[in-house]
């Protein structure tokens, strides 16, 4: 019997060992979520790489006294925003809290300009401002302190407290957070369009807080607690991926208040940065990747954005984001990152 291995046998053995080792690595990597889900996310991510670039628009807005309406008009056009004529629209600003000297919430001037634009120029069917606050149960105190109460009264716009809205059970499509369903506020579920209106800021859990993190406010605090910590326990990245993937509103858009951003210890205790920018788009991930670049960060280094891009929930690569309007290079700042917790 020939005890020397032939070259062919050796190659076969090497190939077999390679396949087994590769399989073991994939098994280990996918053990916690299951191979089928991992493959689905990976394939969707690879498919997204072949898609045409998504559009994000920027506008230079030096202050809250500038022509916000004009900036939103240009941005809406440049971003190729969805047609919202006759739509029931929910505006979701970030009203996390009100702390003197800390620009941690979306400025009411931006929300007011968007309301006027949607109502008077787009002619939506209805528009409400909605939020489910996280640190305080009483949104009225925050509305009062942030200037929202006065603005909403003047504009005759209803505020919906998403923490106390009727519950709708939404099946989760992604499987990222090991949850089968999520309770969501009826106002959001039944709307034709959701516009996420975040503040441009850093965040000590998610590195940045943009249009996706802002979605935390649409789940009810009475179920998930104040500050909705149960959802952090499911893995904040995974849970936000679920929210983005399972949003029931057929149309969506993000408009970010980056006129004065917040750097350092976000979401609450950071310091102001005059950035002079509004930005918007329909792909929340692309909008948030652009937010990261605007703050001087590499979106590929932000785990939550990198994971969602890998899973095909949107674009973060510069080559896949078609920027329109003002120049990102001219607006870009160097934000102090949030401390790692």
């Amino acid at each position: 019997m020939n005890r020397n291995l032939s070259r062919r046998t050796l190659l076969r053995l090497a190939l077999g060992t390679g396949i087994l080792a590769g399989g073991a690595v994939i098994y280990k990597q996918t053990e916690s979520v299951g191979l089928d889900k991992w493959l689905r996310w990976m394939l969707r991510g690879q498919t997204a790489r072949l898609a045409s670039p998504t559009r994000v628009a920027l506008a230079t807005v030096p202050s809250y006294d500038a022509d916000l309406l004009g900036a939103i008009r240009a941005l809406w056009r440049d971003a190729n925003a969805p047609n919202l004529e006759n739509a029931r629209v929910v505006l979701k600003p970030n009203l996390v809290d009100s702390i003197p000297g800390r620009p941690c919430f979306t400025a009411p001037q931006v929300t007011r300009a968007l309301i006027q634009f949607l109502r008077d120029e787009i002619q939506v069917k209805s528009v409400v401002v909605a939020e489910g606050t996280t640190f305080r149960r009483d949104p009225h105190a925050i509305l009062l302190e942030t200037g929202y109460r006065e603005m909403l009264t003047q504009e005759r716009i209803e505020f919906v407290d998403l923490n106390y809205d009727d519950l709708v059970k939404i099946p989760l499509r992604g499987g990222y957070a090991k949850m089968d369903f999520l309770f969501m506020a009826r106002t959001v579920v039944e709307a034709d369009a959701l516009i996420s209106l975040p503040k441009l800021k850093t965040h000590h859990w998610t590195r940045i807080s943009g249009s996706i993190k802002n979605l935390f406010g649409i789940v009810p605090g009475v179920k998930y607690g104040f500050p909705k910590n149960t959802l952090h326990i499911h893995g904040i990245d995974a849970f936000l991926a679920e929210l983005l993937d399972s949003l029931p509103t057929p149309k969506r858009f993000a408009l970010v208040d980056g006129i004065v951003g917040l750097q350092g210890d976000g979401p609450l205790f950071g310091t102001p940065v005059a950035t002079g920018a509004l930005l918007g788009g329909g792909d929340f991930l692309a909008v948030d990747a652009t937010c990261a670049r605007l703050m001087g960060f590499d979106p590929a280094q932000i785990e939550i954005l990198a994971f969602m891009a890998w899973a095909g929930l949107g674009q973060i690569e510069a080559a896949k984001i078609e920027l329109r309007g003002a120049s990102l290079d001219e607006l870009q700042k160097r934000y102090e990152p949030a401390p790692r917790v």
Partner: protein
């Protein structure tokens, strides 16, 4: 304040419960608060009976309550239901107590994690209270509420009670009062909130705890510029009622905040809190 009661009567749902808003889905919390308020009124027996029946219907097999009918997991609103049913439905309340005593917030044992949490949040993570949902950390509101529910059901000496009192004292803000759960976050002190401060004080008062922490919190609650909404005034007034403090100023302020329909902010829960305070 009788208009508040009229608003509550008109907003009771066909199932006997109340939503947070008039006509909204029935939840356990506003139902329990309205039930406690109507229990003070001899002419509201119908509302009371229907509300009790609603709560009993929603009690789950494990003895706890979810937040509303579609919620199939027991959680923090169990404490509201126990409190509201304690005097007239002892069997249901006792099963609720069983659930409360079996469920606690996360208790951290790993020393490294304990030190990390101490650094970032300035709290002792080895002490726990009650969570909003099973599997979560403990927070001020569900802990204080559970203590009050246990007190209403005459559970006074249980180790969970003693630990939860320590939990409240540990989470107090050094300058006075409580917020949702931690007095500090990464680089900044979190300010107190009215509902957490008032409820924690009510719980500690029920168990006879009086010390420098409670005195500081009382001072915070008495500050003129601290509260300016109906929700915040309602909580403050409810606490003052429990310690027999004067209520004239709270009443006068709340009257200016009452809407034409008799409600406060159109919110059933807030309106029930006001009704609870003024013995209507």
């Amino acid at each position: 304040m009788s208009r508040a009661l009229e608003f509550l009567r008109a907003s009771q749902n066909a199932d006997g419960g109340w939503g947070y808003k008039n006509g909204g889905m029935s939840f356990v919390e506003p139902t329990a608060a309205a039930l406690l308020a109507f229990s003070l009124d001899a002419n509201s027996n119908t509302q009371v009976q229907r509300a009790r029946a609603f709560l009993k219907t929603l009690q789950r097999q494990d003895g706890g309550w979810g937040i509303a009918a579609p919620d199939d997991e027991s959680g923090w609103m169990t404490a509201w239901a126990v409190w509201a049913l304690a005097s007239h439905e002892p069997a249901a309340a006792e099963r609720g107590v069983g659930w409360l005593l079996q469920n606690a917030g996360i208790r951290v044992a790993d020393q490294k994690q304990v030190e990390g949490v101490k650094n970032v949040l300035h709290i002792d993570a080895t002490i726990t209270g009650w969570a909003w949902q099973p599997g979560d950390a403990a927070w001020i509101f569900p802990t204080a509420l559970s203590l009050l529910a246990l007190h209403a059901q005459n559970v006074r000496e249980h180790p969970r009670v003693q630990e939860s009192i320590q939990f409240l004292l540990d989470r107090a803000i050094s300058t006075g009062g409580w917020n949702i759960g931690n007095p500090f976050m990464v680089t900044g002190s979190l300010p107190p909130t009215v509902e957490n401060t008032a409820l924690a004080l009510m719980a500690l008062d029920a168990f006879g705890i009086e010390n420098e922490t409670t005195r500081r919190a009382q001072n915070v609650l008495a500050q003129e510029n601290f509260t300016h909404t109906a929700f915040e005034w309602a909580w403050r007034a409810w606490y003052w009622k429990t310690i027999h403090a004067p209520l004239e100023r709270a009443r006068a302020t709340l009257e200016t905040l009452q809407r034409a329909d008799g409600s406060f902010d159109g919110n059933v829960f807030t309106t029930a809190l006001v009704a609870l305070t003024f013995d209507i």
